[in-house]
């Protein structure tokens, strides 16, 4: 009896395996197996550049100019996660905007900077009624102090990304410059999500938040933000610098990846700058002409808080 049961089972298994084999065979034949590193490179990027569409333009133009026909596999993540993926070697090229984290990884010898290629600014956005009177703050640190006071009085809320992204890192730096700790306060909400979701959350809750201007304008132009407006700009503490990195992990340590990465950074610092100027002025500005200024700003940002 047991033998017969096993025999039947064996037949079932063979039939199923046959079906599975056919299925898998079809899957493979439709998508020929390619060794991943041959003509594709994994790129980790901060969500904002992906959202605005800059990266796709970069890659398309790059492929058109160089005729290299490289497939860039883009992972849209926060800067914190993107840098971690670079350090792991899971992704080889990264586009991020969190100077203090970048410096940390560079000091550990995990990544190498290829270019600082663009900048824009962070802005403090909040309800147009502005209960914390952020509009009249002297700078972003003062603005955060006002939000804190209003929050303690129950007049205002603040939505934080809470995800170690570039925006979140900057926000925490400003809080520490203000010598305040909003951690655990009932009016301090952590979304743990991307910038767009955080902005929509702030919009629905009539709360303040810190955002890069590109993400804000992108959503506002689609009419998705009804209640929150830009309240405070601050050229000193709220400049937002985008950089490009190459992973030093052994999985990326091959001539092909290096060649592509250097060519790409070369393109972004030349042709890419024209593209930024022509198409993305105000969202992400090119650094050309201000290279040393922006690099100084980057250095200053790593020392913040």
């Amino acid at each position: 009896m047991k033998k017969e049961l096993l025999y039947t089972a064996f037949i079932i298994a063979v039939v199923i395996a046959g079906i599975a084999g056919y299925y898998i065979g079809r899957y493979y034949s439709e998508k020929p197996v390619e060794t991943p590193q041959q003509n594709s490179i994994v790129v980790a990027t901060t969500t904002s550049l992906y959202q605005i569409g800059i990266l796709n333009d970069f890659f398309n133009n790059f492929n058109n100019l160089t005729h290299m026909n490289i497939k860039f596999n883009v992972l849209a993540k926060g800067s914190g996660e993107a840098l971690r993926l670079l350090a792991d070697g899971s992704a080889c090229i990264g586009f991020v905007h969190a100077p203090s984290l970048e410096l940390q990884y560079m000091n550990q010898g995990k990544i190498m900077r290829l270019a600082i290629f663009g900048y824009n600014e962070f802005v403090i956005v909040g309800p147009s009624s502005d209960p914390a009177n952020v509009k009249n703050a002297s700078d972003s640190v003062d603005a955060f102090k006002r939000i804190y006071e209003a929050g303690e009085k129950g007049l205002a809320k603040f939505v934080s990304r809470g995800d170690q992204s570039g925006t979140n890192v900057r926000e925490l730096q400003i809080w520490s410059l203000a010598k305040l700790s909003p951690e655990g306060k009932p009016w301090y909400l952590k979304s743990g999500q991307g910038m767009a979701q955080t902005l929509l959350m702030a919009d629905n809750l009539n709360a303040y938040t810190l955002t890069d201007i590109g993400s804000y304008l992108n959503l506002a132009s689609q009419g998705k933000l009804k209640n929150i407006v830009i309240l405070k700009r601050d050229p000193l503490y709220l400049i937002n610098v985008y950089s490009m990195y190459l992973s030093k992990a052994s999985s990326c340590d091959n001539p092909y990846t290096w060649y592509v990465a250097l060519k790409l950074s070369n393109y972004i610092l030349n042709g890419g700058q024209d593209l930024l100027l022509a198409k993305y002025k105000g969202l992400v500005n090119p650094v050309r002409g201000n290279e040393s200024l922006i690099e100084q700003a980057w250095n200053a940002l790593t020392r913040l808080g």
Partner: protein, 215 residues
Amino acid sequence: MAESIFSITIRSLYVSSVASLLAFIAATLLSLVASQLTRRRAEMVLSFFESLVGVPTTVIGLLVYMLLFPGGPLGFLRILYTPYAIIIGEFFVALPMAFTTMFRHFYSLRDSVRELVLSLGEPEKHVPRLLLRELTPILVSSYLTSFSRAIGELGVALIVGGGIEGYTNVLTTAIAIQTSIGNYEYAIWIGLILILITIAITFAVKIVGEYILWR
């Protein structure tokens, strides 16, 4: 928005069906082996897998990432951020589901069918055929259940697949990424397709269930 919903759907169906098929085969073989155990041990195996059903898919995703990233034990395969990585991850998501839905029947049917055949005075060689007939609908519904679990999970697909447009973007990652960039309308369309697929599967499972009852 460069990618059409259609190609995402096709990719999603492919990846999840391969993953759940592999899980289904493994679960079948596992059930066969485990049905030889004593009832107490079989119960223990079953409870173990039942507890695995509840493990969050993000945890499975993280574990598979640790396995596949370039510094990990299987990093040399270089399949992180490919559809194959998602298939591996979803295999582990679907396996406990497939096993728990089929094993209980395996175990109880083995004895009852045999008793039935013998009490009707039929020769014992009829047992396997009858058993197969009894098991088929259970196997089908078990496969469909694990398939719907695989196609509806996000954690694995996002962590080891990465949602790369035109390569590893499946329905759930498309929803997550489009939501994260504020494109809710597009995300809802994909969500509707996902709902349609799962509803279709639920109905299929129901119909197969009826077939068990009314045959």
